[in-house]
């Protein structure tokens, strides 16, 4: 017969866990609201920026600027954005799996990584891949300035020809329940409609001061904005993933408690029955 005390102890322990997961879910929910707002408000800027850049690049010569320079070479740099904390379901898992697969599939290239977030660093530190930089603790206070310094760093690596291509790998925020791992090429910048140049437009377009200097500034800012957006996407995804994970953890704990309580009650009843039988038996024995 299962030990009553033992079961009671287990119920209590599961209850404690459930309390923690419930609290974490609430915290994640409130952080998610903030992160979601941030990304939704940052998106229009990024999209408009891309529009302007596309317009401009479509009318300019692509070898006008070093950041548009499509060159041969297989030194690829990946900016991998993971989280610092765990307990967020498949958030880091799917990210790392995708990254590892990508590295394996493209093993002929000279791959290197910049890994943001403690979780990603823990994994890739022990793998045969070069990590050029570790960014740890970014989730606490990420702002536009940090994005700027990361963006500038990437730009320098690229324009000094230390790497030939730069990608970002991160979780894109689709909805609270849904995140999608994306691999996005950051450098060289590939404007969408570069293929079909719109010559009719170019005729009467006015540039102040002139197209080269505008393009230069625009590209620099574009880098910052893209990095900023990727980090915001990732942050919103993380909180979303954590909330969902904690929600299902709380639910699982609830089911477990139900099951254990049932066993406990059964055991208690069996115990009482057994005691009654003993008493009755004892009384019978005395009578006789």
């Amino acid at each position: 017969m299962p030990n009553l005390k033992e079961i009671k102890r287990r119920i209590q322990s599961v209850k404690n866990t459930q309390q923690i997961t419930k609290a974490m879910k609430l915290v994640a929910a409130s952080k998610l609201r903030k992160a979601q707002l941030a990304i939704l408000e940052a998106r229009p800027y990024a999209i408009k920026m891309m529009d302007v850049l596309n317009h401009l690049a479509a009318r300019c010569n692509s070898d006008l600027h070093p950041l548009l320079d499509e060159r041969e070479g297989n030194r690829h740099l990946f900016l991998l954005i993971t989280s610092d904390k765990g307990l967020c379901g498949g958030f880091n898992g799917s990210l790392i799996r995708k990254m590892a697969k990508h590295l394996k599939d493209n093993a002929q290239n000279e791959n290197s990584l910049i890994v943001a977030g403690k979780k990603g660093n823990d994994i890739f530190r022990n793998r045969p891949v070069t990590i050029t930089e570790e960014i740890i603790g970014w989730t606490k206070d990420f702002d536009y300035l940090k994005a700027q310094s990361i963006g500038e760093n990437l730009t320098t690596l690229f324009s000094e020809k230390k790497v030939d291509k730069v990608f970002m790998v991160y979780n894109e925020f689709k909805s609270v329940m849904q995140q999608e791992v994306v691999v996005e090429q950051l450098l060289p910048v590939v404007p969408e409609n570069l293929a079909h140049k719109d010559d009719t437009f170019a005729v009467d377009y006015i540039y102040e001061p002139d197209e080269e200097s505008i393009l230069d500034e625009l590209l620099k800012r574009y880098m910052t904005v893209e990095v900023y957006r990727a980090f915001l996407e990732s942050s919103a995804s993380e909180h979303g993933a954590r909330m969902t994970a904690m929600d299902s953890a709380s639910r699982n704990a609830g089911e477990m408690i139900e099951g254990l309580t049932l066993t406990y009650n059964k055991a208690r009843q069996a115990y009482i029955t057994k005691e009654l039988i003993e008493i009755v038996n004892g009384a019978e024995a005395l009578k006789g």
């Binding site: 940052a42 800027y45 408009k48 317009h55 009467d204 006015i206 001061p209």
Partner: protein, 134 residues
């Protein structure tokens, strides 16, 4: 007769304006410009200063700093680094920023720091000027 410009002003933090307006006045690096319906396509850098737009006879003013303005096909897109409506500006903060930047400029700075601080100063000046004028 609907000859309106579609104006959208966005900053990295959020979208400030998305409206149909009659006229936009913006501070370009090469000089202020006024944009009316059927303006030629243009792309320009912006400096710190006042950007205003007119809608149904009413004028709304903002202080923006840095960024771009693009006009194509009667769509005006302003990508500003920062942007605030005039009535939202915190005078005390702007004054403090102004004083800080001035003090900093007198100290030894690297070229990059100097440019950064100068930008801050211009931003503060733009804010204060517009507060005083209105």
């Amino acid at each position: 007769m609907s000859q309106k410009l579609i104006l959208s002003i966005v900053t990295p933090e959020k979208q400030l304006v998305a409206e149909e307006v009659d006229q936009v006045n913006a501070p370009g690096t090469e000089g202020d410009l006024g944009i009316l319906y059927d303006h030629a396509p243009i792309l320009t850098n912006l400096r710190s200063g006042q950007l205003s737009y007119e809608k149904d006879g009413e004028t709304v003013a903002l202080v923006v700093s840095g960024g771009y303005l693009e006009v194509t096909d009667n769509r005006v897109t302003v990508l500003a680094e920062t942007g605030e409506f005039l009535h939202e500006i915190d005078r005390e903060r702007a004054e403090r920023a102004h004083a800080d930047a001035e003090k900093l400029l007198l100290t030894d700075l690297s070229e990059e720091e100097f440019i950064e601080t100068q930008k801050k100063l211009f931003r503060a000046v733009a804010r204060l000027e517009n507060l005083n004028n209105n």
